[in-house]
Amino acid sequence: MLNTREMIAFTEDRLARAQEIIAQYPEGRQKSALLPLLHLAQEQHGWVSAKVMDYIADMLGIQPVEVYEVATFYTMFHLEPVGKHVIEYCRTGPCCVVGGEGVYDHLKERLGVSANQTTSDGMFTLKEVECLAACGWGPCFQIREKFYMHLDNTKVDQIIDELSK
């Protein structure tokens, strides 16, 4: 059995980073660290579970519900397990003007999933997101911190091939 505490806690370097983050805000305003810590946790686990949220609440000295209500408000936080690569596809107007809908159809077909589903091999989760501030370089999607831009069907295939290796 894995020790669950270990799985939830930040790794050593992330714990140090968390403490740096918390120290950035004025005395008594440590709750400001909530979004940065949720990002840090998601970077470590791929998603944020209720247990992870409780751990963050504890670290900031706030109620767990204060973390839940925030994590559910912001669309970037995955509240359920996700595939190895989360593809966040921009579905907003300017990208659609330059062919975003067609490329999206191709991507869905290629992966064999629709929005908010994970491929059966657990490799890819597809999410639809709104404008990523990359409209002039669209159609586009994001995987973790990386932007994939000027997409067309061929490029999509190349990216998926590459990541499937």
Binding site: T92, V97, E130, A133, G136, G138
Partner: protein
């Protein structure tokens, strides 16, 4: 080539590093402001420059700064708005990733002017890689003595904190942003009190857009009068335009305010015209929230004058025949784009992004999305068009924050200028919903 204030050195290799930025005159504004000017003198120059907020509303920056309350013993804050989530807008993303030190230099002189000792740059969470670039730049500036305690031996202290958002358009609205920065849901606050009196941590706060702040080093170096001499009328200075859509050269352009729209679209110096074999149908000139205009009204005002890229000229004619400069998100559509479908897409966006606090916005955006979805999929009827106009009107002006208006305007304007296309959808649903179907409006310039 027009004058460049923000992007003059953008092509220099290594401009993202402190060393190269400094070599091209970077951080001289910090030296000048902190060593030779009193904070109020910096405010005065910004006032004289006439620079208007570049986040969308266009409120004069110097005036906003002069409203900041200064009670004794209470900290004041400067918060930079890098949430950039307005569809069609990607200039702040471009500026921050390419020349991060420009924003940091601007944050230092602006914080000094306002008497802030801890300032925040709030960046949308999707741009985590940009956050890392900014953090690296901050560390470099700190190592060189431009941030931290006793900057350049002047006794002025400043810390900069970069804060990630979490994926919520509404956090671009300044009071929602402050809530988010306090670790809460991004629900806009009722005003008053305004942030200038009670903002971050209940302290007096100024919120300014990335591009607004990035203008301040140039203003400090060259003076407010020199800035005011650039541009046209009350549209002083330059503006970053994010251009997307069916043009030959999409991208971010720094223009001197006052360039004719026609030149901006068709000249090779800018967008290079519409992609080959196609022609201009419509433009959304200032980000998804502003009214859409058909080709003839974006190129010329209703009076037949050339439309210019300026606050005044773009809004000439009010909402009947004009639009707004907004955030400068310039979305160009050719004749293959369905205005009806695009309006549905935008409605879905606003419904998705409504924080849900006020019922006209929460319910109204949902209604508009639903009705538009029905029309787009061939199940609409004639009455739906007037229903949409009615719902949009009921949202406008009846909400806590301007997201409600931002949701209503694209719908109202699309029906005002492209009613025939909506009618085509409801009268010929089979034809309209065919893949690749294109409606040829009567009034486009070929």
């Amino acid at each position: 080539m027009g004058l460049k204030i923000l992007t003059e050195h953008i092509d220099k290799p290594g401009i993202e590093t402190f060393e190269v930025y400094r070599k091209h005159g970077g951080y001289t504004a910090v030296e000048k402001a902190l060593k030779k000017m009193a904070p109020d003198e910096v405010v005065e120059e910004v006032k004289k420059s006439g620079v208007r907020g570049r986040g969308g509303a266009g409120f004069p920056m110097g005036m906003k700064w002069s409203f900041l309350a200064k009670p004794e013993g209470v900290p004041r804050y400067l918060v930079c708005n890098g949430d950039e989530s307005e569809p069609g807008t990607f200039k702040d993303h471009f500026l921050m990733k390419t020349i991060p030190h420009l924003l940091i230099e601007g944050m230092i002189v602006s914080s000094y002017a306002l008497g802030a000792h801890k300032s925040f740059i709030y960046v949308r969470g999707e741009l985590m890689y940009v956050i890392r670039i900014l953090e690296k730049a901050i560390a470099e500036a700190k190592a060189a003595g431009f941030l931290g305690k006793n900057i350049l031996g002047t006794g002025y202290d400043l810390e900069l904190v970069v804060q990630p958002g979490g994926g919520a358009y509404i956090c671009g609205e300044e009071t929602a942003l402050l809530e988010s920065l306090e670790g809460k849901r991004g629900n806009p606050r009722n005003k008053p009190p305004f942030p200038a009196v009670k903002g971050l941590y209940e302290s007096p706060t100024v919120v300014n857009n990335v591009e607004s702040i990035a203008n301040t080093p140039w203003i400090v170096n060259n003076g407010g009068d020199a800035y005011a001499a650039i541009g046209i009328g009350r549209s002083t200075g330059t503006k970053l335009i994010s251009a997307s859509g069916n043009v030959k050269n999409p991208g971010v352009y720094e223009i001197v305010l006052g360039v004719p729209v026609e030149e901006f679209i068709y000249s090779d110096e800018y967008l290079g015209g519409i992609r080959d074999g196609h022609y201009l149908k419509a433009v959304v000139a200032g980000g998804s929230s502003v009214p859409i205009l058909p080709a003839h009204l974006i190129l010329k005002t209703a009076n037949g004058e050339n439309r210019l890229m300026s606050y005044e000229s773009l809004s000439d004619g009010g909402f009947a025949t004009g639009t707004m400069l907004g955030s400068g998100g310039f979305i160009v559509m050719d004749e293959t784009v369905s205005v009806v479908r695009n309006t549905w897409n935008f409605s879905r966006f606003y419904h998705h992004e409504s924080c849900g606090q006020c019922s006209p916005c929460r319910e109204g955006t949902g209604w508009m999305e639903k009705v538009l979805e029905r029309i787009v999929h061939g199940h609409g009827n004639e009455r739906d068009i007037d229903l949409l106009v009615d719902v949009a009107k009921r949202i406008e002006g009846n909400t806590i924050c301007p997201l409600g208006d931002a949701a209503a305007w694209p719908v109202g304007s699309a029906i005002r200028h492209f009613r025939d296309e909506f009618e085509w959808y409801v009268r010929h649903p089979e034809e309209a919903t065919k893949k690749g179907a294109v409606y040829m409006p009567q009034n486009v310039l070929v």
